[in-house]
């Protein structure tokens, strides 16, 4: 791609934004269809997360111009949210434990 981020700001052809816009529409329609056709189980979760990740990636990379920023900024902004996944892991254990105690002490106890 010939366009680049210069001191004059982000200069990219309009076509690029229209293409990404189109893809976001397609991906959103796909994730809606997952629900519409009542897909269940692993396939449902996998598709939902895949479409979510693709949409988020397109928005960050192209609409927010992260693809053209320097690596120093991209790392500073994109790496910290990954730590949230550790938090998700911790809370998964916590929720499982809470469910366990509730089932042991509150159900038919």
């Amino acid at each position: 791609m010939a366009h680049a981020a210069t001191s004059e700001g982000q200069q990219h052809p309009i076509r690029l934004y229209l293409v990404v816009w189109g893809w976001l529409f397609i991906l959103s329609a796909c994730s809606y269809l997952v629900d519409y056709f009542h897909l269940q189980g692993m396939l449902r979760w996998a598709l939902i997360l895949l479409f979510m990740a693709l949409k988020a990636g397109l928005i960050i990379a192209v609409f927010m111009h992260m693809a053209w920023e320097r690596l120093a900024l991209a790392c500073a902004i994109l790496l910290p949210p990954l730590v949230v996944l550790v938090f998700v892991g911790i809370m998964t254990f916590e929720a499982d434990y809470t469910l366990f105690t509730r089932e042991v002490f509150f159900r038919g106890g």
């Binding site: 981020a5 001191s7 004059e8 700001g9 982000q10 200069q11 990219h12 309009i14 934004y17 229209l18 990404v20 816009w21 976001l24 529409f25 959103s28 994730s31 809606y32 997952v34 629900d35 519409y36 009542h38 979760w45 939902i48 997360l49 479409f51 979510m52 949409k55 988020a56 928005i59 960050i60 192209v62 609409f63 927010m64 111009h65 920023e69 320097r70 690596l71 120093a72 900024l73 790392c75 500073a76 902004i77 910290p80 949210p81 949230v84 938090f87 998700v88 809370m91 998964t92 916590e94 929720a95 499982d96 809470t98 469910l99 509730r102 089932e103 509150f106 159900r107």
Partner: protein, 240 residues
């Protein structure tokens, strides 16, 4: 004091690329984000902090949903609407998603025209973005009204786990607030663009500093972030 930090253009030419640039930028004196102005860097850092806030909401939601012994209400049925005799699952949420994505598209183009100094098109596209945003908030108000009439409260609901209401109102309410603030932000900047503040070097009312065209991109960053958060809410709250 100059309004704008002098851009080290000469430096940019000699900078290394890739991972070497990361080390060079972070170990450099005073300024780590060389391609981004302070305004843009600060907006990114604000958005990072906002990411953590929304993460906390979504993780709390995950925790209560995983740990409840009462079945979770099926969002596909809760948010279904009857249009023309057919019951469409999640239709309102799907339309809201498309509205918000469209607003992101118009915003991206507004940023593009702003860097081409096209006042007319930038203003119109920003107003279109604000209109899409206002539509989104309106539809959300409709959705809230419908659910409240059906008996959803932060502490109870007719379909199952009582935590559903608190998670729903907290997550969508906080997101809706962000959209509302974004619409106001867009209208203020659109007015400045229309008036030609950035060409005439007019000083801002609040900051008494000269604005720059880059503010359109910074506003855009905020707006795209609102759309980005919705992507996660749509997937994790409505579809899950």
């Amino acid at each position: 004091m100059p309004d704008i930090a002098p851009a080290d253009t000469q430096d940019t030419v000699t900078q290394p690329g890739g991972w070497r640039s990361l080390v060079a930028d972070w170990s450099s004196d005073q300024r780590a984000f060389r391609s981004a102005s302070w305004g843009k860097a600060m907006m990114w850092i604000f958005l990072l902090s906002d990411t953590f806030i929304f993460s906390c909401f979504l993780i709390s939601y995950m925790t209560v949903r995983m740990s409840t012994v009462v079945p979770w209400p099926n969002p596909s049925e809760v948010f279904a609407l009857e249009i023309g005799g057919t019951n469409l699952p999640l239709i309102l949420i799907a339309i809201m998603t498309f509205v918000l994505i469209s607003s992101s598209g118009t915003m991206a183009m507004a940023v593009n025209f702003a860097y081409r100094r096209d006042r007319m098109r930038t203003t119109l596209l920003m107003l279109a973005t604000a209109a899409f945003g206002a539509t989104f908030v309106g539809m959300q108000a409709f959705e809230w009204t419908k659910l409240i009439h059906e008996g959803v409260r932060p502490w109870e609901n007719p379909w199952g786990a009582p935590q559903f209401g608190s998670a729903f109102f907290m997550i969508t309410g906080f997101h809706g607030t962000h959209v509302t603030i974004g619409v106001i932000f867009l209208l203020i900047i659109a007015r400045k663009v229309w008036r030609g503040d950035f060409d005439q070097q007019r000083k801002g009312f609040f900051t008494s500093r000269k604005g720059r065209w880059e503010i359109v991109e910074i506003t855009g960053l905020y707006w795209h972030f609102v759309d980005l958060v919705w992507v996660f809410i749509f997937a994790l709250f409505y579809l899950w």
